[in-house]
Symmetry: C2
């Protein structure tokens, strides 16, 4: 199978998307990989797998690679003798943050009829925005922690007790996120968050809360990863974030009882099905007094959460064969013909 | 001002989008109009304003027009001496239903940095799906009528009393909608709705409910239309629907007292701001015992609801000068540089 890895994008997570993409070279051992880079000014470049080093991008050398045009059915190289499509079986959307997770890539792949692995437009918009994720979870009967919502122009006042965590509603990878221990720190945390977004969500910061991650997808059946208990520091510095996006070997399953594992898996399935069909996602849950709460949905997780699966590569192959298809709409101009004959005009 | 009207699309509402687009020729008297047709197989065609008749499309003659390629900054005609951009100041998204209202066009215009009048991606996804519209309205403190939600695979059972109205969640223009008077009729109505969508919403059908439409946008200030009280039959046949999409002259304001008018306008503003900035939308409200309920949001209303405004053309010009701008994200590869120096590798 030939998989086109689409990465980069006009996103605060542009650089970690490059790290994720390079990691895919180690993860996909039996597949042919094609790399399509979306530069920060949104040009598409064809990158040979052998050239995939971080330096190609940081040096600007990617600009010497072939430019691609997105058209019906694929990505094309324009040449003297017309335009030629790049060959692949499926696109794997690996653009973290804006462009990749906000529905733009899903929109374009759907519109231009290119098979792709990614959350669809609706799933993207609902999971990219942490407020909408709350609406979604609530409607599906999955608990989330309490929250308050603030827009840039709102009065900077919250009613929940400290400590709290302040998050821009539309970002991942802890960008713009602060833990706020008291009222005096709130203003600065909001300044930081509003640097990145027009809206923030404030949640209680629960010291020592148990966190569990579950990834998975639906192919012809459920394919769920192990449940991981990430060992997080209070904050991710750049080195730790790099570790997260470059992981390529399986980690150990969390040491939890079967009842809790099933609760986590059932919550994952409620969120996933049917909205996220066609995507591999990771959901991060809190467990508080034996109850499972959705913390966040990672619609395009770092390095695709490959390290949580026993055989990630084969699962992606199966997923590529079970992608949701958009309904064909036939247009026969019957309605316009009726108007024309009713009105005797064209 | 040169306005590019984008119309057609892979949509059940493809044909009425053509009707809406032809209507724009009468509505825009002082602007230059450029027409870009999206065929049902999603090719872009350049159509001269003088050729804009319904016959061009129903006959298939549009296929002889110039094909356009969507690229960074615009729509391009490929020729012997390279590729040339079509000139316009702003795109007006006039694709009703799928492609236009589901976020695809907004995604592509944003990605390729083309100024456009349309709901943004988030606004599209939330208003295209009637279930998500309920979430949105609720979160903004705007009332909606009670509802039940059914997916194709759910048991076909509802708990609310008859009569009810059954609607596919993702369609407009009354397509697939049925009024169901008793339990015996439910099955057939669901069959019809599930022809068009995987999910439906069921609401009480309130005989003789008062309906009011409010359109508007935000430029440098609120620009609200008159409030219209549409005189609807139980159902729209094709002729009446044509009337709705081809209207080009202002209608009379509803005869309501000022207090109700203000309530309707305030509800409209709550829905619109800030999510719909950059768009002209129409909200349809019910008034029940002096309370205002959102019935639905028309993110791209028939003929842009031009007939509700005193000077629609000038308002569109003002809107084009006050479009929301996507935040620029600078990528400086500082993070990758840090990894490289920390690891001593590229």
């Amino acid at each position: 199978m030939n998989i086109a890895i689409l990465f980069g994008g006009s996103s605060y997570e542009h650089e970690i998307s490059i790290v994720s993409a390079i990691t895919m070279k180690k993860v996909f051992k039996k597949s042919n990989l094609t790399f399509i880079f979306v530069s920060s000014d949104r040009q598409f470049y064809f990158i040979d797998a052998k050239d995939m080093t971080s330096k190609l991008f940081s040096s600007g050398d990617y600009k010497k690679r072939k430019l691609l045009t997105l058209k019906k059915g694929g990505f094309f190289v324009d040449g003297l003798f017309g335009s030629k499509a790049i060959a692949f079986d499926v696109v794997l959307n690996l653009i973290h943050g804006r462009d990749g997770e906000d529905g733009k890539i899903a929109s374009m792949m759907t519109f231009f009829d290119i098979p792709f692995i990614s959350p669809c437009i609706e799933a993207s918009v609902l999971s990219y925005n942490k407020l909408y994720t709350k609406f979604l979870a609530e409607s599906l009967g999955v608990k989330t922690v309490a929250y308050e919502y603030l827009s840039k122009t709102d009065e900077r006042k919250i009613t929940m007790p400290y400590p709290v965590i302040v998050k821009p509603v539309r970002l991942g990878s802890s960008i713009g996120v602060s833990i706020v221990k008291n009222e005096l720190e709130l203003d600065y945390a909001l300044d930081v968050a509003f640097e990145f977004d027009t809206d923030v969500i404030v949640e209680p910061f629960i010291v020592g809360v148990k966190e569990f991650n579950q990834a998975g997808c639906y192919t012809h059946d459920w394919e769920l990863s192990i449940v991981e208990q990430p060992h997080k520091e209070e904050f991710l510095d750049f080195e730790k974030k790099y570790m997260d996006f470059s992981r390529d070997s399986q980690v150990l399953a969390a040491d939890i009882d079967n009842a809790l594992k099933i609760k986590i898996q059932e919550s994952f399935k409620k969120i996933y099905h049917p909205l996220f069909k066609g995507a591999v996602i990771r959901c991060d849950f809190f467990v508080i007094e034996d109850e499972v709460y959705l913390n966040e949905i990672n619609p395009i997780p770092g390095s695709m959460a490959n390290y949580l699966f026993e055989d990630f590569e084969q699962m992606v192959h199966r997923l590529a064969l079970h992608l949701p298809k958009e309904k064909h709409i036939a247009v026969d101009y019957q309605y316009i013909h009726s108007i024309q004959s009713a009105k005797g005009k064209a």
